[in-house]
Symmetry: D2
Subunit: 321 residues, 4 copies
């Protein structure tokens, strides 16, 4: 349940306030130069402390503990771990409230109350840190593919409004993939859209995804939507399909957008049920939270795309004569 | 690659114009009453011949060829097969054109030209027929859960326009799931959103999915978005999250919407590249096609949801003390 | 549960006395010439009717129903099916007895009595027929590897004795694999021994397996056992390890032996518990049974080895730079 | 490739001389009391330092770094790690020799020379330490099943001989499983024999396995081999099949034997190929090695059996109505 991928396969572990969090990366070919340094830029991009993000300061230093020898991958599983440092358990005592918008209640029901509730446990956005590390390894396997994600500028007005009002904001992250050859992905269950969406929805807070002009396409006519090929390399005049037909890359740019709900933890009072008093009461949430966590996610989106494409590329290599 | 699910696992086979198409359903408990009759209503809902759908008439008679004995499941894999009957191979000769909006070009590149191109081969919407059959079996495992999907009425104006103009239309299908207990789904990779989207994007033509008010939520403030609990059974005042927090059901109604692009095959002339003449030329597509294939998909959405929930329910049963 | 393999993956279905039995073969590269004719020789080798085998005569005609177009694999799943013809359900009425040596009792407990008991249902040796078909496809992927299995001649005296006494006999099948390059297999869980034994024990009646001089090696000293390399191509002076070190092929011949128990169905009277009378009673088993089913299994062993090696070869191709 | 199991799934990482080794255990239900103390007895049983075992002394202290909260499992993945301490890299410089009987040569070929060769890297017997830890968790899930393994006494004469001659010895470990209900295991690919052998062959040095009287059964007649039921609880008069029919437990004691080759590292001179000089030369292996590593493996066998049975028990719970 905490593994993803077929050949290039990652397994996550850890909780927000546990000793450490990390990832085991399996199926990585031997002989690839790799060190922790390869991960620092992406890890930095995910960090807190920037505009409209939390002030929880974690050093986020990756430690590779297996699978590397003399600066290269060995073919054995690669463990990358991160110590948890800057947390204060007193922020998170249970007081009858399951926080609105969080997984608290659902997790309590699922695990009969045995889940680790501190900082959201394994539901925490902190779990995306090892994903970024795994993404750095994946990117090494597909060096010619260019993956680039960013938050759409039109979201910033809402972020500004949230900052002014002690509130929080959602956001939209757009990802573009260039230089992906035609023919990657599988029909039906392992379509590019299936695998990318599967991966992307594992980012806490994602509630929608569209490929190409996916949402608008539902209101289009076929004559408007179809992307007609204009040259022998498969380039199309338009790209409504976002570079994917029948679940397979068609050689044009892949484009998709990821929609995030606002950070659920807000400083404003909320009226919600107290399971001790059995009444709806005022709840105030303290602590250090991102006003807009979506701002920190472009690098996570890229990581997950890289993980999907690394796996599909290995499979393609295996199954093409 | 053509299998989906962990314990309740389905494997698809077949092509649009091959001898037959079908599905192997594995992991189904023994002792469940089951016959082909249990599938007829759902199969009928998917059929062509209604408003704005194709006139290709297939009898679509399911044949269970294994896994049933004396009217009950045996615990062995269940094969459900459908003969292909009403197809005319002459409709699909290659003439230098890869049809716009179809998987033709991407598949050609993926399979080095060895894919079966007739009727779209395994990329055909016909492959959703065995999915519906598998869904009927899945529904038997989760009888108390109510899954209901339909196309949004606001899409019909566009369908009407398409019909009038020899064009095609997209659509939006909304699915609601009631009586799903809290605690189903897994954090991170096997979140409800991850698994449902993975399944749903295997339906040819889906280009976007949103859970709850997922798209709108990206423009909301946290104080607007958060669903506050109002009673001890976890019911919430609003349902912006679509019944899912942290990837886990919270006991409220699950709501998601699936966005389809228009049917790519249209009677109108299209200008696209001819790989024989190496020029952009006019293409006219003949044959019998759905004006709006999305109209046929609500039952397919329900089937895939049932398949996901059957599997998650079995896993939940296994992993709860 | 009825699937095996990672990329080259097979899924079995069917029961001894059901309508048909078959296999879905997924992950096969596109562009490989394939037809039913490629399977006939191996299917013939598995047939009944020879020395000390059953007289149940099945035509065993393979039908490929998907995944082939114009004589080549398409990359889509390949279904190979076989009709069941020559069975007589009256041979198998339940009368209070679970047949000794068969899965009858264990299956009854597992499936709460809902399993198909006719001819052993999915526990029947007949399920190995689609395995042979899948093996023929696998062999196409690894044409340079030579896999050859046969029953050891020293077993024949016991078979002769069984024939003379209306009894049945076990046997030992030895398999040799030549021209497998060094470096195939994975350390630990997916060692060559792990995967081959996993596959081989799915043949009904196998109760032991040894690689190289595995059984004898337990009584050896290290100085006797170690296979020392004698040339730069890795050839060893002895081959006690059967061509496998640390789960990986070392370039020498792979050798393993499979041990079968005798056919459980014998004409002789047996004293066993009757669950109707609740007493131990005499049981006489009628019908047409192999005196020594092991005689029919060398081709099945070869098929399973081919399936394992096809998958490992694809994985090796994927994960070597 | 380094994962095993379907629902209760373990993922190994680490190398003999790396920073640490460990295992991620996924699929463990929430609410089970668990601490490192639960692992100490089994870890002690595996340790070196006893009769005919190595003098490498590792403290082998397990650290649970995730998945536990307030003394209970949380349902999240459990990481158990062990620091590597007592190793001396100078023992293992490459000098043109691939050690006889070791994976050195096969691994070199597989990984193009990039594998970590120190102490055998991930091929080391040290990797069985986290398996023992995972086995302790598995045993918690199946408290009523009694799993007990030991080395057969008749092996000890050979061990004695090896000790006297600076040589090494193999061994046979017998495992008995009591109180396993009838009906566990799956027909065909996931038979009890398939899964147990798959797991057992991941122990470095195992070269054969037999269930019940598996080896002898190949020379038996059916009338001698068949285990006849004698009472309504399924107990049989004999147990030649080792408690498994058709891959499924029949409620009798499960018995199997595992055959180990001798420790490949011996103090005696060996004549083997030197890849620097390109000649066969004398090789002397120094270091601290087990005379008979099989003596340390009974607890590993038990661990792997527990892992298999925990997974099958969860699956059985999921798929029985």
């Amino acid at each position: 349940m905490n593994s993803f991928g077929n050949i290039f396969r990652i397994t996550l572990y850890g909780e927000s306030h546990g000793k450490e969090i990390g990832v085991v990366v399996d199926g990585c070919p031997a002989g690839i130069p790799l060190s922790e340094n390869d991960m620092l830029t992406d890890i930095e991009r995910r960090k807190t402390g920037g505009y409209a993000t939390s002030t929880r300061t974690e050093s986020d230093i990756p430690e590779i503990r297996s699978g590397i020898y003399q600066g290269h991958t060995t073919g054995a599983p690669i463990l990358v771990a991160f110590h948890n440092e800057d947390f204060n358990d007193e922020d998170y005592n249970f007081d009858g409230f399951f926080r609105p918008g969080h997984a608290d209640y659902a997790a309590y029901k699922k695990y009969n109350g045995y889940n680790n509730p501190l900082g959201g446990g394994q539901f925490s956005g902190r779990m995306t840190l090892p994903l970024v590390a795994a993404g750095c390894i994946a990117k090494k396997l597909i060096p010619s593919i260019d993956i680039s994600a960013q938050i759409l500028p039109e979201c910033m007005a809402n972020v500004e409004k949230a900052l002014e009002n002690n509130d929080s904001a959602g956001g939209i992250v757009e990802c573009r993939i260039r230089n992906l050859e035609a023919g990657i992905g599988e029909p039906l269950f392992d379509s590019l859209e299936s695998l990318i969406s599967h991966a992307i929805f594992s980012i806490p807070g994602v509630k929608a995804i569209e490929f190409g002009n996916g949402i608008a396409s539902a209101s289009m006519l076929g004559s408007e939507y179809n992307d007609c090929i204009v040259s022998s390399d498969g380039k199309t005049a338009t790209n409504n399909c976002g570079g994917i037909n029948g679940g397979i890359s068609n050689g044009n740019e892949i484009v998709f957008r990821t929609y995030y709900h606002p950070t659920p933890s807000i400083a404003k009072k909320q009226k919600t049920f107290n399971f001790n008093s059995l009444k709806v009461e005022d709840l105030e949430i303290h602590g250090r939270h991102d006003t807009c966590f979506a701002l920190r996610t472009p690098v996570i989106v890229e990581a997950l795309v890289a993980i999907v494409l690394a796996d599909l590329t290995l499979i393609s290599k295996a199954t093409r004569l």
